[in-house]
C-alpha cells in the first residue's frame, strides 16, 4: 500500500531542510580542517563520506530487488505445475465431450431417429459444450488457441516474467488480479510474502520519494533565487548588525521557501508523468490514449482494478520501472503537500500548536519563534559579552562539582493545578508531535 502508507504523516523533511544549510557550511569547514592537518587523506575521507551516505539507500534497493526476484521464483515454482495440470484436465474434458458429440450425432443419423429428437439432442450438446467452454475460461488459464489440437503448451500464465510482474504489483499493493495464486501453498506464501514485503517495498519507495522531494525543494529554491537575482533585488552588507539581520532573514526565507512550494507545481509534475506514461503505454500495448491514462491513474493510486492490464510480456520490465518511478513520484507529492494538511487537521481546535509556526507570548507581545530566535541572537551578543567580562573578574570563585545537577524549579507554578494540566498537555503535545 505505498499510496496509503507511503503518504502517511511520517517525519517530513521539513526540519531536515531547515537545518541543511548549517550542515553544508559545517561540512565545508570540516573539509578545510582536514586539509590543514593532513592533505593526503582528503580523497579517502571524501570517498568514505559519499560511500557512507549512499550505501544505506543502495542496500535497501538491492534488498528489495532481491526480495522481489526470489519471490517471483517461488511463485513460479508453486503455481506453474498447477496451471499445467488444470489446463490439461480441462482440455481433456473438452476433447472427450467433443468426441462423444460427434459419435452420437453419427449414430443418430445412422439409426434414422426422427429429426425433432435429433435437433433437441443437438441443442443439449451445444449447451453442454458452452458450459464446458465457460468453465475452462473461468480458470483464467485457457484460451481458444489452447483447445486447438497441438496448442496445449502455448503461453502459460505463470512464467518467470509474469511472476515478476505479479510479485511487484503484489508488494506495491496495486494488485491487478489478472494473475493470482490458486493453490493453498501459493496463498499461504502470498500471505507471508506480503506481510514482510509490503513494508519493505513501502520503505524503499518512500525513501526514493523523499530523495525526489528534497531535490524538488532544492530546485525550487534555486529557481526563486534566480528569479530574485533577475529582478535585481540585492541587499548590500553595510555593517555587522545588518549582516546578522540578513542571516536571520536568510533562515526565515529558506523556511518560507520550503513551506510555500505551490501545489499546482506538484500537481503538474504528477499529471505530466501520468500523461507521459499514457503516451508510452499506448504505443506499447496498442491502447488509445485515454485507456493508457486511465491505466496510469489507477496504477499510480494503487487502486488496480485489473480491467486493463498490460499484455505484451516483452514490455513487462519497462512497465515495472514505470510503476516504481510513478509510485515514488506520488510519494514525493504527498510528502510535500499532504503532511501539512494532515497535521493541521489533526491538531485543529487544540491549544497546542506546532512550535515552529506558533506565536510565542513574550513580554505581552506575540512573536513567531523564528523572530524570537533572531532576538535571541541579538541578545546573545550583549549578554554573552557581559558574562565574559564578569568571568574574568571572578575567575577564582568556587564552583561546586554538582552544580549542573541542581534543578531550578518554579515551585509556585508546579504547585498549582493549572501547572500540572499544562505539563500534561505539554507531554501530550510533545508525544503527538513526535508521532507526526
Amino acid at each position: 500500500m505505498p499510496f496509503v502508507t507511503s503518504h502517511l504523516p511520517y517525519t517530513p523533511g521539513r526540519v531536515g531542510m531547515f537545518t541543511r544549510p548549517m550542515h553544508q557550511r559545517h561540512y565545508h569547514r570540516r573539509e578545510q580542517d582536514q586539509n590543514e592537518n593532513d592533505i593526503t587523506s582528503r580523497p579517502m575521507a571524501t570517498w568514505k563520506t559519499y560511500a557512507r551516505i549512499i550505501l544505506a539507500h543502495v542496500s535497501l534497493i538491492v534488498l528489495s530487488v532481491v526480495y522481489v526476484g526470489f519471490g517471483a521464483f517461488l511463485f513460479y515454482q508453486l503455481e506453474q505445475p498447477n496451471e499445467v495440470e488444470v489446463r490439461a484436465r480441462n482440455i481433456e474434458r473438452f476433447n472427450i465431450h467433443k468426441r462423444q458429440m460427434i459419435e452420437h450425432l453419427w449414430e443418430m443419423r445412422e439409426s434414422g431417429i426422427g429429426q425433432h429428437v435429433v435437433e433437441d439432442l443437438a441443442v443439449k450438446y451445444v449447451d453442454n459444450v458452452t458450459r464446458i467452454l465457460f468453465e475452462a475460461f473461468d480458470t483464467h488459464c485457457i484460451g481458444a488457441k489452447h483447445l486447438r489440437p497441438g496448442g496445449e503448451d502455448e503461453d502459460y500464465n505463470w512464467t518467470y516474467m509474469t511472476a515478476l510482474f505479479f510479485t511487484t504489483t503484489l508488494l506495491t499493493t496495486i494488485g491487478y488480479g489478472n494473475l493470482t495464486p490458486v493453490t493453498g501453498r501459493g496463498k499461504l506464501l502470498c500471505i507471508l510474502y506480503a506481510l514482510f514485503g509490503v513494508p519493505l517495498i513501502l520503505i524503499t519507495v518512500a525513501d526514493i520519494g523523499k530523495f525526489l522531494s528534497e531535490n524538488i525543494v532544492q530546485l525550487y529554491t534555486w529557481y526563486r533565487k534566480l528569479r530574485e537575482k533577475c529582478s535585481k533585488q540585492k541587499y548590500s552588507v553595510i555593517s555587522s548588525k545588518d549582516d546578522k539581520n540578513k542571516e536571520g532573514d536568510l533562515n526565515l526565507d529558506h523556511l518560507e521557501n520550503y513551506i510555500s512550494i505551490p501545489i499546482f507545481l506538484i500537481v503538474a509534475i504528477l499529471l505530466s508523468y501520468i500523461t507521459f506514461g499514457a503516451v508510452v503505454l499506448s504505443m506499447w500495448e496498442g491502447w488509445d490514449f485515454f485507456s493508457g491514462f486511465y491505466f496510469s491513474f489507477i496504477t499510480m493510486t494503487t487502486v488496480g482494478f485489473g480491467d486493463i492490464v498490460p499484455l505484451k510480456r516483452e514490455y513487462y520490465i519497462l512497465d515495472l520501472c514505470y510503476i516504481i518511478i510513478g509510485l515514488s513520484i506520488t510519494t514525493m507529492c504527498i510528502d510535500l503537500v499532504g503532511i501539512q494538511y494532515i497535521r493541521k487537521m489533526h491538531y485543529f481546535g487544540r491549544a497546542i500548536k506546532d512550535a515552529r509556526f506558533a506565536l510565542v507570548n513574550v513580554g505581552g507581545k506575540m512573536v513567531h519563534v523564528p523572530d524570537l530566535m533572531r532576538y535571541a541572537s541579538v541578545l546573545q551578543q550583549k549578554y554573552g559579552q557581559k558574562k565574559t567580562h564578569d568571568t574574568i573578574i571572578v575567575k577564582g570563585a568556587y564552583a561546586p562539582k554538582d552544580l549542573s545537577k541542581i534543578r531550578f524549579i518554579d515551585f509556585g507554578a508546579l504547585a498549582s493545578i493549572e501547572s500540572w494540566q499544562s505539563l500534561w498537555s505539554i507531554l501530550t503535545g510533545r508525544t503527538q508531535e513526535v508521532h507526526v
Binding site: M1, V4, T301, G306, K365, S377, S404, S422, I426
Partner: protein
Amino acid sequence: MARKAGGLAAIMSGQPVVVVKKRSVFWRLRHLTRQGGLHVGLILLCILYVHFGALFFMYSESPEEQRILRRVEKRYDILRETFLENVNRVKLEDFSDERRVNESISRLIDDYSKHMFKLFTNPVAANMFDCLFYSQSNYTPLWTTDSSLLFTATTIIPVGYGYIAPLTSTGRIVLCIYAAFGIPLALVMMSDVGKFFADAFVKFFHENITAFMVVLLILLVAYSVIGGIAYSKIVGVPMIEGVYFSTITIFTIGFGDITPGIPVYVIIIFIVFGVAIVTIAIDVVAANIIHHIHYMGRQVGRAKIIADKMLSMAQKISINRGLGLGMAQLGAFARMGMMINVSAMGPQDGHANGGVGEGGIEMSRKSTWRSENDEIKTRKSTAFEPDLDFDMIDFRQPSGSSQYLYGFGFDNNAFGLADGQSDEDSVFM
C-alpha cells in the same frame, strides 16, 4: 524596525505578566465541540462521498450494462443457431464418408469455441454465463446498490478489487476525478482516526515506543488472522482462503479473485479498521526506519534532533511559563539560537564576531557527532580556546561535548535517541 525594538525592550525588561483565565463548564463543552467537530465532520463527509459516488456510478453504468447484455444475448443466440444449422447441413450433405463428416463437425466446434471465448472476455457476458451455469438463475446485474457501494468504497481506500469496473468512457473519466479527490479524503480521515488511537496507545504504554511497536505488529497479525477465520466460518471456505482474503484486503492489494459472500457494510467496516491499523503500524514503525535510512551518513539527522529539542523547549516556554519568561531561560534559549545561527555562517564571519563567535563555532563543532580522533584533531587545530562562559555547567568534567549539548535541559526524545546524560544535566525539568 520599530516593532523589533519594542519587542527587544520588552524582553530586556523581563516583566512577567500573569493572566489567570477562569474555565467554566460552558467553555469546556464549547472547547470539546470545536475539538471534535472537524473529525466527526470528516468521517461524515467520507460516508456521504462514498454513497453519492455509488449512486452516480450505478445510474451511469447500469444502462450501458443493459445494452451490452442485450447485445451479448443476441450474439449468443446467433452463434448457437449458426452452429446448429451448419451441423445439420454437414450431416445432410455427405453421409457416406464418416471421417469427412467428423472432421467437418470438429472444425465447426473449434470455430464455435473461438467465438465463444471471444464473447466471454466481456465482463457482462461473463456475468451472464456465470448466472446461467453456476447459479441456474436469472441474470443478476453487475451494478447494484451493494456492488456500487463496495466499488466506491474500495476505490477511495484504495483496495481496488476489480469485481466491477466502469465500462463507459464517461464512467472512467468521472472515476479518475472521483479518485483524485476521494483518495486524499479517505487518507486524511483514516490517518486522523488512526492518530487518535496511536496517541492513546502511546499514553497507555507510558511512551515506551518499542513496546508499542511490538503490540501494534501483533495486533496487525491478529486482526488479519481473526478476520480471516471469521470470514471462513461465515462463508464456508477453508481457513487459508479466509486469511488470504483478509490479508490481501487490509494491505489494500485487492486481487478480487475471491468474491465476498458477506454484507457490503460489514466488509467495508472491516476494510476501514484494517487499513487504519496498517496505517498506524506503518506510521510508527516504518517512519522511524525511513528517517534513519534516509539521513544515515549525514549530519542533518543530528541537527534535526537539536532543532526538535529546541522547538519543544520553545513550545514549553510558550505554554507552561507563558508570560513569565525568565532571564535565565531566555539566556539559555539565546545561546542555542546563537549556536544555530553561528554554525550557519562561514569561517570568516565567525572570526569577525570575536570571542563570542569563536566560542559559538567551537560549540557547534563539538555538538556534531564525531569520533574522538576527529575531536582531538579539531581541538589541536584551534590555537586559541577562550573560556566558554555557560551558566550552571561543571567545567571540570573531562568530556565536554555532551555537556555543552545537553546542558540546557533538553527533553528526552520519545524514541530514546538522546544521550542518557541529558536527564542528569537537565536544569529546567
